[in-house]
């Protein structure tokens, strides 16, 4: 297969990526008893298209399976088979096989087990048997009915007239006396071309006037006597005049017919219509009479005239100066994802480059120059826009992932013996492609969890005065530079007592632990935690919610829980829009510059150690900010940064406002769950966009640090994982003690 075919093969695989979700969506609707013909046809078409494409590329295994699948679906389409629950389930299973066969062909998946294929084929053949009792036609079996004779075309109607090899038209002197011919002479003005029209259209229009029996009986001569020598040709001017002889008289073309053709261009084209005997019949543009000078005629072959385009060079009216005729409208183009990734990387480098330029200019003192500053600001804003635009290219709606969840819920509730409806909201919300790819597994797990542990059995629900059918709402929306995905069930809520008991039993928390409601809820994310009394098929696969949390964390996101006993549970995933860039606040601490994501910063305040900071009995410190006590984190200690000497500290302090040793600069930060902590920093240096560079890829995971970045001056700086810092600080600080101090402070 050549490169060309390889490219097309990739297009086919991309189509499969669109067709398979379509198939799934259709089957989903089918299982919800929505059996409208359009749905069934869409299902059929998806499989049909996959088969057709696969056949073009010789993907035998895929074709064979798709063919039988298609035949089974045809029985459904023709109404020979009912979409019973069993049938639909078989179609779903077959869809999985089909999807795996596509992956196999794509070489992104393992070879599909033959036995599995055979089992599914048997299922499908069973459906076909049930439908019309026949086995499907063999792949590639002729669809053409016996006795069908292909119909050869009548070239006459086409414009390939029987032209001799030397190019002279055989009808040249056919004009019978009774068919006095019409001579149409027309000269388009520059404006005709400027309007996007073309002499060719007029010729085609004239050709179409020909009655069937006279098809091809049109002589066209191009008069080029007005054509200047090459050096004098102006690209924007029209020079040519066309003379067309058409069969006239009875059964032929009438001057009125011709006028119709020129009606649209009468203001930009001179036309004279005469009978061949030179008698003037009509002269719509008398003002622009044409000099009828006979010159050496250029005979244009009929077949070249129309419908094939006339060679534009002959008219010397260049293509560029003319507005395009009918521009092809394309709604979208396909671009290799690797190219966009490259673009994204380069934009990242550009952000760094721009910051480094700014930093260098600042050092040289050039930034005093207002003009320079203004220009720099323009580049800065452009960089930001480009970044946004590239991100928009990578963005995809969450629709496909969300749609896939319908099936997860359908199968999950079936297995759990529960009745659960999934409502999708905000499926059009767009997110970076990488995020979408990595969302499926966590969402699947969380939904299974909600079905298993959240939604009650129908009996329990009725007893609790709720409708027997449980509802899970899966919502996506944008909020302040992040995407929020909510999974809200109307089940029984988290049983706090049981969760706490389990956690104690598993040794996750000490037996005497005093935990807030929020903290108890958080326990379900603890590694090794599982409250399911029996390991069910669904969520009990040895992976707990801790895996979900880790997966979301790896995407730069957070999970938070809100639960109301008896009313239900709400899981909120908060994810960054992109994995590449974030707005960061550059802070100084123990001589290091670090980055705090601006999205998690609440405020920056200075507090007095003697007045606002309290040491609570367990030795940890809290600070009162606006009447609220929050854990205080000495960032240097927390990250075990080397303590600075008094000298360095003094130097660091001059950077910020802390000129008084009694004062602390604290950065109040917040995680998605609303938990806050105060980071003690030496100063704040700047706020800037930073490009996220993975630290795990290059080194290993560091507690309290989510990633690294390169600053404008070329130095490497760490991006703080605010959420982890807050969680570890809140764990240390006993909640009750904090409340106690809050009272005292008030």
């Amino acid at each position: 297969m050549g490169d060309d075919m390889d490219d097309i093969l990739n297009i086919f695989f991309e189509e499969c990526d669109e067709l398979l979700p379509e198939l799934e969506r259709g089957l989903g609707e089918l299982s919800d008893n929505e059996t409208n013909p359009e749905t069934i046809n869409a299902i059929f078409r998806a499989v049909h298209s996959i088969k057709g494409g696969a056949a073009s590329f010789g993907l035998e295994r895929l074709v064979r399976f798709a063919h039988v699948y298609e035949s089974a679906l045809d029985c459904l389409r023709s109404g020979k088979v009912e979409p019973s629950a069993d049938t639909v389930r078989m179609f779903f299973l077959a869809m999985d096989v089909l999807s795996d066969l596509v992956a196999e062909a794509k070489q992104t998946g393992d070879a599909v087990d033959d036995q599995r294929i055979d089992e599914n084929l048997k299922n499908l053949e069973g459906i076909i048997q049930q439908g019309d009792g026949a086995s499907p036609a063999q792949v590639g079996e002729s669809v053409v009915p016996e006795g069908f004779t292909p119909v050869a075309v009548d070239f006459g109607g086409f414009g390939f007239d029987e032209t001799d090899e030397d190019g002279t038209s055989s009808q040249e002197d056919d004009a019978a006396p009774s068919m006095q011919r019409l001579r149409v002479v027309f000269s388009p003005h520059n404006e005709l071309y400027a309007r996007g029209d073309d002499a060719r259209n007029l010729l085609v229009g004239l050709k179409e006037l020909l009655p069937e029996e006279c098809a091809g009986e049109m002589d066209v001569t191009c008069r080029q006597d007005n054509l200047p020598t090459l050096g004098d040709i102006s690209a924007d001017d029209a020079y040519l005049t066309w003379e067309v002889l058409l069969p006239g008289g009875k059964g032929g073309v009438t001057p009125d017919d011709v006028n119709m053709v020129f009606e649209w261009v009468s203001d930009v084209c001179d036309v004279t219509i005469t009978h061949e005997g030179d008698e003037t019949v009509d002269e719509p543009n008398a003002a622009h009479a044409i000099m009828e000078v006979e010159t050496q005629p250029v005979v244009v072959n009929e077949e070249e005239k129309a419908p094939s385009p006339l060679p534009e060079e002959k008219e010397t009216a260049p293509l560029v100066s003319k507005p395009p005729r009918k521009r092809e409208q394309h709604a979208s183009i396909r671009v290799d994802i690797g190219r966009i990734g490259m673009l994204m990387d380069m934009v990242g480098e550009m952000v760094i480059g721009q910051a480094s330029l700014e930093s260098a200019l600042g050092k040289s003192g050039a930034l005093q120059d207002q003009e320079l500053l203004k220009r720099l600001a323009v580049i800065k804003s452009l960089t930001r826009d480009i970044q946004g635009a590239v991100m928009a290219i990578r963005a995809q709606s969450v629709r496909n992932v969300f749609q896939r969840m319908q099936r997860v819920v359908r199968e999950g509730s079936h297995l759990a013996g529960k009745d659960v409806a999934l409502i999708l909201e905000g499926e059009d919300t767009e997110v970076d492609r990488t995020l979408i790819e990595n969302l499926t597994d966590p969402l699947t797990h969380m939904l299974r969890n909600a079905i298993d542990h959240g939604i009650e059995t129908p009996e329990e629900r009725i007893a609790a005065g709720k409708p027997a059918q449980g509802t899970i709402r899966l919502t996506a929306r944008h909020r302040s530079g992040r995407i929020l995905i909510e999974i809200r069930d109307d089940g029984g809520g988290i049983n706090q007592k049981r969760v706490l008991q389990t956690a104690i039993k598993r040794g996750i928390v000490p037996p005497d632990a005093h935990l807030s409601e929020g903290e108890i809820n958080e326990l379900i994310f603890a590694p090794g935690f599982s409250t399911a009394e029996k390991v069910s098929d669904l969520s009990g696969r040895g992976v707990g919610m801790d895996v979900v949390k880790q997966a979301i964390h790896n995407l730069g996101g957070r999970v938070s829980i809100k639960s109301t006993p008896g009313k239900g549970t709400l899981f909120t995933l908060s994810l960054p829009l992109t994995l590449a860039v974030l707005d960061g606040m550059l802070i100084e601490c123990s001589g290091s510059t670090m980055v705090v994501p601006v999205s998690s910063v609440v405020e920056l305040v200075t507090v007095k150690i003697t007045e606002d900071v309290y040491v609570i009995p367990d030795g940890s410190r809290v600070v009162s900010v606006r009447g609220r006590c929050i854990p205080l984190i000495y960032l240097g200690e927390e990250l075990t940064l080397p303590d600075l000497g008094a000298e360095d500290r003094a130097a660091a302090e001059t950077m910020g406002a802390a000129d008084d040793s009694d004062q602390l600069i604290v950065l109040v930060v917040e995680n998605e769950a609303g938990a806050r902590a105060a980071l003690v920093v030496d100063g704040v240096r700047d706020q800037t966009q930073v490009v996220i560079k993975s630290i795990e890829k290059n080194y290993r995971q560091i507690k309290g640090v989510s990633a690294a970045t390169i600053l404008g001056d070329g130095s490497v700086s760490l991006i703080l994982d605010v959420s982890t810092l807050i969680v570890s600080a809140t764990k240390r600080v006993d909640t009750r003690a904090m409340e106690l101090h809050a009272e005292r402070a008030a």
């Binding site: 060309d4 075919m5 097309i8 093969l9 297009i11 086919f12 189509e15 046809n41 869409a42 059929f44 078409r45 049909h48 298209s49 088969k51 057709g52 494409g53 056949a55 073009s56 590329f57 010789g58 074709v63 298609e70 045809d74 036609a137 792949v139 590639g140 079996e141 002729s142 669809v143 053409v144 009915p145 069908f148 292909p150 119909v151 050869a152 075309v153 009548d154 070239f155 109607g157 086409f158 414009g159 390939f160 085609v204 179409e208 077949e303 129309a306 419908p307 094939s308 009918k326 396909r334």
Partner: protein, 129 residues
């Protein structure tokens, strides 16, 4: 007899890969400037302003399908004589009969080889140079 490069062809299929494979095979046979449209509606719009000798259309497409397109092409005097080949992988006798009744010139069954494509075209146009 026309040479392949003289025949202006329009390929109609909702699948880009199918269109491109067909276009690539036709280019091999000497066709030039093959137009492609993704459904019956777009095809009709294209035919409105572009004279075409040959339409090769898929059968099963969303909206205006291959059969409806054929009927529309035949009922418009401007395009009534256009050669129409239906590309199909479906062994659906009923649709095939309807297409024959509507005046289809020939069928091209998927999957096809270049030789089969050539044969199908020659049945309609005569030997293609």
């Amino acid at each position: 007899m026309p040479s392949a490069s003289q025949i202006r062809a329009l390929i109609v299929d909702d699948q880009t890969s199918i269109r491109q494979v067909l276009a690539s095979h036709m280019t091999e046979l000497g066709f030039k400037g093959i137009a492609q449209r993704k459904d019956g509606k777009e095809a009709l719009e294209y035919l409105e302003s572009n004279p075409i000798h040959l339409v090769i259309s898929d059968f099963n497409m969303p909206g205006i399908d291959g059969l409806a397109l054929l009927q529309a092409v035949r009922s418009n005097p401007k395009t009534a004589k256009t050669a129409f080949i239906i590309l199909t992988g479906e062994a659906n006798a009923e649709l095939v009969q309807k297409a024959v009744a509507a005046g289809v010139n020939n069928f091209l069954a998927k999957p096809y080889t270049v030789a089969k494509l050539k044969d199908t075209l020659e049945k309609v146009f005569g030997p293609i140079r």
